[in-house]
Symmetry: C2
């Protein structure tokens, strides 16, 4: 079985890694839309259009199951994708919510994500429906910062402090509502304190696939990006290992 995974950029590689770790013989195709990253400040219409284009690219590669490894796309385009495509589709929001509800001790849950994800209210609704008290915060600078490879030092720490100051001390669990954020999990955990459960949806999303996978396949991994960027090699190697190669596939547009 061939499974497709797409994200706006390199962040979804965290989900790809979790899937690969759990199902090592699955055939995987990944698309990172690095030519149009970040998605988090764009309109719903544009995120839906970009998501459909990414999905179509993966369908053309023969996938039978699609993982939307981008929270912004999961929040704004999952319904649209399900309406349009004939294969099973898994987003990253529901698995993350489920995990957070499992690990929270007192039901005080913080959610951080892009402007578009937080504004959609999808996380807030799901968590509140389950009885949690939710503190949501958009962190628009995190994705550009991570895509630039800025993972350490004064700037990331200052930006983390700027966004998370309101949540620290208030929540016992913090949901990373963006697949880029696991790449700065060390900073977030340090800032929030060791007693706060920091939840990313990569592992839970991988678990969700268990019931959908028919047979595993031949452990092929195809990796595509829509543009070359300086930090890309760093992330591919960091998450998937040195021997993994990728192909850049240009997007052709018409205005």
């Amino acid at each position: 079985m061939k499974v497709g995974v797409f994200d706006s950029g390199v962040g979804g590689l965290t989900v790809l890694k979790a899937i690969r770790d759990r199902f090592p013989s699955l055939d995987l195709v990944y698309l990172g839309d690095t030519a149009r990253v970040p998605y988090g400040g764009r309109s719903k219409e544009t995120v839906q259009r970009y998501s459909l284009e990414c999905a179509q690219f993966l369908l053309d590669k023969g996938i039978e199951l699609l993982v939307v490894a981008c929270n912004t796309a999961s929040a704004l385009a999952l319904e649209k994708l399900k309406e349009t495509l004939d294969i099973p589709i898994v987003g990253v929001i529901e698995p993350g919510v489920k995990k957070a509800l499992e690990v929270t001790r007192e039901g005080r849950i913080g959610v951080i994500g892009t402007k578009a994800t937080i504004k959609s209210g999808v996380y807030q609704r799901m968590l509140e429906d389950a009885g949690a008290t939710v503190y949501a915060k958009a962190c628009p600078m995190f994705v550009p910062m991570i895509e630039e490879g800025l993972l350490e030092g004064e700037i990331p720490k200052k930006i983390v402090d700027h966004y998370l100051r309101d949540l620290r001390g208030k929540v016992d669990t913090l949901v990373l509502g963006c697949t880029h954020y696991p790449l700065i999990k060390h900073l977030l955990q340090e800032y929030m304190g060791e007693d706060v459960q920091v939840v990313d949806s990569a592992e839970s999303t991988a678990l969700t696939l268990r019931n959908l996978i028919v047979d595993e396949g031949y452990a092929n991994l195809e990796l595509y990006f829509t543009d070359r960027s300086e930090s890309m090699d760093f992330f591919v190697e960091k998450l998937l290992g040195r021997e993994v190669s990728y192909e850049v596939v240009p997007i052709l547009c018409k205005l």
Copy 2:
């Protein structure tokens, strides 16, 4: 005469404003590629492709002169645009360099811009050929920060300090090698000190048009963006006034 102006996002509005202030009866068409902003971390091939698409959109609107109001596109795609298009094309780099050389007292000139602009070495070569000592620095977080509307407060100040620390005290002139940066000129001037000449190319680029404009026209202004963003209204109103309206034109892509 109809003049087209394009930029990756809202930054080029600073150039549009300078042109409109100087030639108030010129017909102007602006395109901000907000669906694919920022350009500064993308590859040369992708910046060239996006620039050609923006130029084609403006050609279809009947422009007779093109202003590339984006330093990244001017650095990586100006030659390509000149090869491909049959109309006169003006970039923002040469006017900025000319202005810097006019105002510098001791020839110690700092240049800041996106990763792609600084890496291209275009500014450095032009300034050094004229005998200046050049200090160049890429500031990749400035464009996402400005496109988010983060123009005041602790985060922008910290980021300014991070990037400009090496230049402060060393240069007598600072060239803003990105049309977004005039939107944080107040922070940059304050940080560098009042005796440093902060040069943006908007005014000089407008001046360059003087010899290329045949007749001014009917003072029409058409404004297009490829996506809606939250901060867009703020920038349009801030730079062009409350009465100015715009249209969102979706990009159609094929992967």
